[in-house]
């Protein structure tokens, strides 16, 4: 059965993550993403049923709240977000795959778009973002692990990938 573009997208992300990027240390991320992938590929329809989606969302919340690092969390959020917007609805996050080409890219905050809300800084797993409220924030590229959490959290589209 051919998968919907969203499902296929989520599967691609998961396949890449489980085969190449996951370190395998914590249970929630290692086993959670493996089962997300399993549910999607076992699903008989182009996109997951309501129950399947509920289970994936539950795994997403589990990983988001209990995984050790930002990488696993960002993957889980991305998958859930993509799937929850099946059927052509506007996708809330930009396309981002942390992976082997990380050294070629960097994240940047557009000072004109940034409202200085601090949400990116609060969600950064390595505290690489700093700034003063209501003024543009700045990413410290020395500390940044390029997990994409800031970009997914920004409500104003101020953060983008540069290369």
């Amino acid at each position: 059965m051919e998968k919907s573009p969203e499902t296929q997208k989520a599967l691609t992300v998961l396949e890449k993550f489980t085969s190449d990027q996951c370190c395998g240390k914590c249970i929630s991320c290692r086993e959670g993403t493996r089962q997300m992938q399993q549910i999607l590929s076992d699903s008989p329809s182009p996109f997951p049923s309501e129950e399947e989606l509920a289970l994936i969302s539950e795994l997403g919340a589990l990983i988001d709240h209990t995984a050790r690092c930002g990488l696993g969390k960002s993957i889980a959020r991305q998958v859930v977000s993509v799937l929850e917007h099946q059927g052509g609805e506007e996708r809330v996050i930009e396309e981002y795959l942390p992976g082997p080409y990380q050294e070629l890219i960097f994240f940047d905050i557009d000072p004109h778009r940034c409202k200085g809300c601090s949400k990116c800084a609060r969600n950064c797993p390595v505290d690489a973002i700093s700034g003063v409220i209501k003024q543009p924030f700045v990413i410290n590229h020395e500390l940044c692990i390029k997990c994409g959490t800031c970009m997914m959290n920004c409500k104003f589209g101020a953060i983008s990938i540069k290369d």
Binding site: T18, S19, D20, Q21, C22, C23, G24, K25, C26, I27, S28, R30, E31, G32, R34, Q35, Q38, I39, D42, L55, E58, L59, A61, L62, H65, T66, A67, R68
Partner: protein, 564 residues
Amino acid sequence: MGSMIIAGIRVEFTDENNVLTVIRNAGIDLPTLCYVSELSVYGACRLCTVKDEEGRYFASCTVKPRDGMNIQTNTPELRKYRRTLLELLLASHDRDCTVCNKNGDCHLQNLAERMGVRNIRFKSVQERHEVDTSSNCIVRTPSKCILCGDCVRMCDNIQAVDALDFAGKGVATLVTPAYNRRLADTDCVGCGQCRVVCPTGAISIKSTVDEVWNALADPKNKVVAQVAPAVRTAIGDRFGFPAGKNVMNRLVTVMHRLGFEEVYDTAFGADLTVTEESRELQQRLASGERLPLFTSCCPAWVRFCEKKHPDFIPNLSTCRSPMQMFGAVLRAWDRQKPDEQGRRLVSVAIMPCTAKKDEILRPESCTHGRQDVDFVLTTEELIGMIQSYGLTLNGADKDAADMPFGITSGAGLIFGASGGVTEAVLRNFIAGHNRQEIDALKRVGVREENGIREFTFHHEGRDIRAAVVSGLRNADMVLNAIREGGKSYDFVEFMACPGGCIMGGGQPISSTGSPFRARRDSLYETDINMQIKKTSENPLLDTLYATLLKGREHELLHRNMSGE
């Protein structure tokens, strides 16, 4: 120092290492699979995740307590997460629980029960891996491994052996020896401490129970057994006795019923060891050669020394271990007075130790091409035998160990606790039966609890500098200090397992706190009730040295460590 609110109750804390400890001290036993307080923190199982006042989730084992924290431990969400985590683990786990060696005793199984996991919503994705039976001591079953890393950290943090580590990543992660070697081809010393911390059946004792049952059933055999001091203070755990209770007398009765014709006390072997080792120490002190003298009772320690510090092999005592001395004497006794019915002597040793299973197979543990001791059963295996026969220790009559090796000294008995060998040897340095001096010996530092303890003993105008070391990481540090000249001793006792044989790799594992103190105190308590305190006062030894052992001390009681 400070206070925090845990599940609505204010709790004071002082120097706890992490929030998890504070929570547990407050009476909430948060589940964990990868947290062992003696080991470094790993944070893999995520079961101890809690929520703070700002709605942040974190694993409580990895966060230091801060004043003013407000922690929730049991929100509906957290409960759901814990259950889902267990479901996820079980989905990738070999769930043949009914035939697992850990059935009924498995930490994962217990937690699944405690958290109310009744249904696994995920597809079973378990992978089959080959079982590694290459070691003489332990068996690794990787398909039951949950990757908590407890064994890896035990082998490194506490034992400094580093035989196991993680390999691969993601879902392909495995705990395995380097280069996927078999355990037998690594530096593994067989101490079994990995098995002690393993929450599942992934690491288990290599059992010889079936072989012993077969030997017992064969009328051509006369099966006798020796029981190590540490066994009697631990085996009662599984039969409802209070921790540390010495149940030797009941055990003798039950073992007779299992079919062991004679049940001897390894403490007698320990008496022989103390006698020989005291002599050896006196000789080496007089000649000044090959000092410090290292004890050689612990086979895991001997292997460790051979594999990691071969330059110290000459320092090892040439004495066999108590089990091997006893085994050799039994065999020689049997050769001198063969069984009237022409039966073959099968010698079994009941030990707290997995490494002993390897020791009996060493070339120097054989005489005339036959093993001195045929089988080693760990305490856990004997418990299994007793239970499968349908017996129990509770109602059993009491009986004394069999003669002619039934008379033992208190010195031989305290071998089971770390420091016991040293104390026993030093007792022989005391002239006569001087109660005050024997009592004073308890207070020189030999009975402290730390893993490395040093003290000085005055004897005939000179100071004997002794050290008692348990845990191989500690041994590693002491050996390096001696080599670099930072430390200088005359006598060092080494035990591989932290706390000594009572905490051996083949002992029952307690689910309620460490049984160390209870077991140790029980041995010292038994020693108090022994009339014979010093091995040199054991009348049986005099008889034996005058008869069977006459002129054969070296052949039966010593070994060639240097391979001459």
